[in-house]
């Protein structure tokens, strides 16, 4: 409250303060060695102020009374300097304050209560299981855990305390042959907003031999012939395609030009030509934004400006329906919301990676909802005459407006006559986003839905890291351009 009072008396019309304590722990191993054991804690606060329509932000690790007041005044002084370039003042969408709220991730086992020797032993056992496979030469494995305790107070009267957990176990197995090496990452296990129970459920020791065998099999896999193929994409792969080609282009700050210098703009712009008009994909395509799915990386009770996030449809029956927004951004779409008989409210997408960084618009969970028919992964393969099935995310690159993308993967299967007939390698597909999503003709049902996730999604300057989940089902895409990435040195 000291910071909010200091900011107000220095001239701020709005102010918020976030105080956070982040603890993370990571264990890195290779073969039968623990390479590094790291435990980090960072504690500090950030004050954001709005002064006559211009933002200011300052932060410090020193929570003494004098420093808190100094930082609040520094933020106001900075806002006045920033105001010298102002063309359009910032206005904020209304919010319903939460005077005394608390929220906690659904973590059953706090990872910091589990002894490190137990964690290290699990990784080394998984490594041994992988190296038991003939031809598997190297294995790296790691666990990463986060616990963030975050308090937000705003001059609107919000005061909320939240405890957020994230967990990511992973491994990479490398097989080496003369003049060649191939890797298999464990990315059918995805990061989650859960506790240590996620590591237990990942069954690393049980799964490691399969990942190792697949790395070895890739050495003798058939190089793909370039051409157009039907692609069947597993949720462990498709989440990243959704992330890059749907979630990023529907961020409103990108569409309006605010991220042009780094992350880029968007082909889903300008809003007045896109909302309710752009046919993103087939009619059965529905894409939801939310911060509520249990165990998802983006789940919170309130965002970093005190908005309780809601579920909203970004794509509704194949047509573009809404952008991701913050309190500053929602008023830019007032015309659209009033046409929909909706209030102009933020969707709750404000986020900062730490106390030292200013909050801004970040994506929530963005998920492809299941189809009405309960198709499975096997059903999609059985229905495909000539195609490639891809499991696990791999290399990825996309342009600054999210039109042209190239994706690799972990494991590639050749599909002929409705059956998997062998493994392929050096596969990447190139797409143009609108054509790609409109070529989707078959998706899985509710039983095939899973959450994938980006643990370190970068955006903003200075670049901030965000963690989001992307729920999805397997899906088939027709006639996609596939290239062979193998080259000789």
């Amino acid at each position: 409250m000291l910071a909010l009072d200091a900011a107000k008396s220095a001239g701020a019309s709005y102010a918020d303060i976030r105080i956070s304590r982040n603890r993370n722990q990571a264990i890195f191993t290779r073969e039968q060695r623990v390479q590094n054991l790291v435990d980090n804690e960072t504690f500090g606060f950030g004050v954001r102020v709005l002064v006559e329509g211009a933002w200011g932000f300052a932060a410090s690790r020193d929570l003494s009374r004098e420093e808190v007041a100094r930082v609040a005044r520094q933020a106001v002084t900075q806002a006045r300097a920033n105001r010298t370039t102002m063309v359009r003042p910032v206005t904020l969408a209304p919010v319903t304050p939460t005077p005394d709220g608390s929220w906690r991730s659904p973590a059953r086992i706090d990872p910091f209560d589990v002894p490190v020797e137990e964690k290290a032993a699990l990784l080394l056992a998984a490594n041994a299981a992988a190296l038991g496979v003939q031809g598997a030469r190297f294995v790296n494995s790691q666990m990463f855990f986060l616990r963030e305790e975050k308090t937000l107070a705003t001059t609107d009267g919000t005061y909320v305390v939240q405890t957020i957990f994230r967990a990511q176990p992973s491994m990479t197995v490398t097989a080496v042959a003369s003049g060649d090496f191939q890797t298999r990452q464990s990315n059918d296990v995805q990061p989650m907003g859960r506790g240590y129970e996620h590591v237990i459920d990942a069954k690393l020791v049980e799964n490691a031999p399969r990942w190792a065998e697949e790395a070895v099999r890739k050495l003798s896999a058939k190089p793909v012939e370039v051409g157009r193929y039907d692609l069947i994409l597993h949720p462990s792969h498709l989440w990243l395609t959704i992330h890059e080609s749907i979630a990023h282009p529907t961020e409103l700050d990108r569409a309006m030009g605010y991220e042009a210098n780094y992350a880029g703009t968007s082909f889903v712009a300008p809003p007045e030509k896109m909302l309710g008009s752009l046919k993103y994909g087939p009619e059965f395509m529905n894409v939801q934004g939310d911060r509520s799915q249990s165990g998802s990386l983006s789940a919170v009770g309130w965002d970093d400006e005190g908005v309780r996030p809601e579920e909203f449809l970004i794509i509704k029956n194949g047509v573009f329906n809404d952008y991701q927004t913050t309190r500053e951004q929602a008023p830019w779409l007032q015309w659209w919301y009033s046409r929909q008989n909706q209030e102009t409210r933020s969707h709750g997408c404000s986020y900062a990676q730490s106390w030292a960084d200013v909050q801004f618009q970040r994506m929530p969970n963005v998920s492809l909802l299941p189809g009405e028919q309960n198709h499975s992964w096997d059903d999609l393969i059985a229905a495909t005459d000539r195609g490639i099935a891809i499991v696990g995310e791999g290399s990825f690159s996309i342009d600054q407006q999210r039109y042209n993308a190239q994706f690799g993967g972990q494991v590639f299967y050749e599909v002929r006559g409705g059956k998997i007939v062998g493994m392929l390698k050096d596969v990447a597909y190139q797409l143009r986003t609108p054509e790609f999503w409109n070529s989707m003709d078959m998706i899985g049902g509710r039983d095939s839905y899973m959450l994938g996730g980006a643990f370190n999604d970068g955006k903003g300057q200075p670049s901030q890291s965000n963690a989001v989940s992307h729920g999805c089902v397997p899906a088939r895409f027709r006639n996609v351009n596939v290239i062979n990435t193998g080259r000789q040195a």
Binding site: R33, V34, L37, V38, D39, N40, E41, T42, A54, F57, A58, A59, R61, R70, T77, Q78, A81, N82, T85, M86, V87, R88, P115, V116, E117, A120, L124, R137, F138, T174, D180, G257, Y258, A260, N261, Y262, G264, F267, A356, V358, S395, S397, D399, Q400, R402, N404, Q406, D426, A428, Q430, R432, G458, Q461, P462, S463, N481, I483, T485, R487, A489
Partner: protein, 457 residues
């Protein structure tokens, strides 16, 4: 931290004396067989702008202490930013508790004895004293011009000033302070059909020219409007220095002897061993890291306290060195050779205009974007051109062209060099933060592999 403080004082960071005193406080609490303390931090200031006005800005201050405790061959690291006695004691006790629980590491090399270091050359008072009002002035030098031109100016200015110190229980103490500054701007036409970029980075803010960068980005935005489509394929390209930096810095990550010796790197030799002594690129190419080069300075020690020195990675096209950590060096009978956080590449004397004039048909590339590894066996990467891509015909720029995706390796590129220009310091980091120092020339390269067109502007 240094007192007294004014509201907008020069950046705060740990002085040598403060770092030494803090390290001693931590080491006095330690009971492990050996302990290392790493201190890092300082002040960061940033200002963003979009649509010709400042959007957000930030000033933050932090210092972290990392304690590494070692019992026999068991170790752990704990980092905190709570520097009071209780905070430091908690960090030391947690580190020692975790270290005792960790398995023995057969590759543990122990802590280093005291070392000698050269004085770091990374500091600039001009950078350390840049305050939010001065940052806003620099931004206005660009946005006033873009407004007057009827264009949309966006961009980012970041400065940092801090220090880095390593101390251990054997008496080693290393200290360096450094600053960094980067200013980048992307100027777009209001209809979204043209986009131009310019940017620069240096340790010394006074070396950056905001108005010149703005003028360059405005010129590119205008010339890039309404691009035409060309067929993807292999083209001669004239790469501006930033584009060369975007690609060449990717090689730096692969200069690792162990991965090469283990057979899982481009630098692995067929049949075993690594490619040291083998010619891999054009003989005009030499790549070095020199922590004392004033144009590309870097820390004079690594995070173990091992001194860094001028290192030639590639000389006249031949691999001269790969980085060896202390364990791998001992195992292979070599001297340890740490990475150095900077990269300088040789060049020639040509100007970009001369490289263009000598090109019958080719493409001029301002910068590359979203570069990601596709195949580590040949360092193949993919990515796209961005913010200023032009067709060269008969020695002249004739048209803006649509952006293109490439699948190419910096190794292949440096084997196809036609001509080189004068090396300059570039802002090569994707995020626009100061990053490591990269000094590279503009290049004219044949047979650059573009694989598809992009509609992105």
């Amino acid at each position: 931290m240094s007192a007294p403080r004014s509201l907008l004082e020069p950046a705060r960071y740990l002085s040598r004396a403060e770092a030494e005193a803090l390290a001693k406080r931590v080491l006095a609490l330690a009971t492990a067989d050996a302990t290392r303390v790493t201190l890092q931090g300082g002040s960061r200031g940033n200002t963003r702008f979009a649509l010709n006005q400042i959007s957000t800005a930030g000033d933050d201050f932090n210092t972290t202490v990392t304690v590494r405790s070692l019992f026999g061959k068991r170790s752990a690291n704990v980092t905190t930013n709570k520097l009071d006695d209780a905070g430091l004691r908690y960090a030391v006790e947690t580190s020692e508790r975790l270290a005792k629980l960790a398995p023995e590491d057969p590759e543990e090399m122990g802590e280093l004895d005291p070392q000698q270091y050269a004085e770091s050359r990374s500091w600039s008072d001009a950078t350390a004293s840049l305050d939010p009002a001065a940052r806003a002035d620099a931004v206005r030098a660009i946005t006033q011009a873009t407004s007057a031109a009827g264009l949309h100016g966006t961009g980012y200015l970041e400065t940092n000033a801090g220090s880095f110190a390593v101390a251990n229980s054997k008496g080693l103490f290393a200290y360096a302070r450094g600053t960094g500054a980067a200013l980048t701007t992307t100027v777009r036409t209001p209809d979204g059909n043209g986009s131009g970029w310019a940017g620069a980075a240096h340790n010394d803010w006074s070396r950056l020219r905001p108005a010149e960068l703005g003028a360059r980005a405005i010129e590119k935005a205008r010339r890039s409007a309404n691009p035409v489509a060309i067929e993807p394929g292999r083209y001669t390209v004239v790469l501006e220095p930033t584009a060369v930096g975007n690609l060449v810095q990717n090689m730096g990550f692969a200069l690792n002897a162990r991965n090469a010796d283990e057979g899982r790197s481009f630098f692995s030799k067929q049949g075993g061993g690594n490619k040291i002594g083998m010619k891999i690129v054009d003989e005009r190419v030499t790549i070095v890291s020199d922590p004392l080069d004033p144009e590309a300075p870097a820390n004079t020690f690594n995070n173990e306290g091992l001194p860094t020195a001028r290192t030639v990675w590639i000389e006249n096209g031949v691999v001269r060195n790969l980085a060896y950590d202390r364990f791998w060096a001992q195992k292979m009978g070599k001297q340890p050779l740490p990475f150095v956080a900077s990269l300088s590449m040789s060049g020639g004397t040509a100007t970009i205009e001369e490289l263009i004039a000598s090109t019958q048909r080719g493409i001029l590339v301002t910068r590359f974007w979203y570069i990601r590894q596709v195949d580590p066996r040949v360092l193949l990467v993919t990515g796209l051109t961005r913010d200023g891509t032009f067709l060269i015909e008969n020695g002249k720029i004739t048209n803006a062209v649509k952006n293109l995706r490439f699948n190419e390796s910096p190794i292949f590129m440096l084997n196809n060099v036609e001509a080189m220009g004068r090396p300059v310091r570039v802002s090569a980091s994707e995020s626009g933060s100061p990053g490591v120092a990269v000094v590279v020339p503009p290049l004219k390269v044949r047979d650059f592999n573009f694989t598809s067109l992009s509609d992105a502007v």
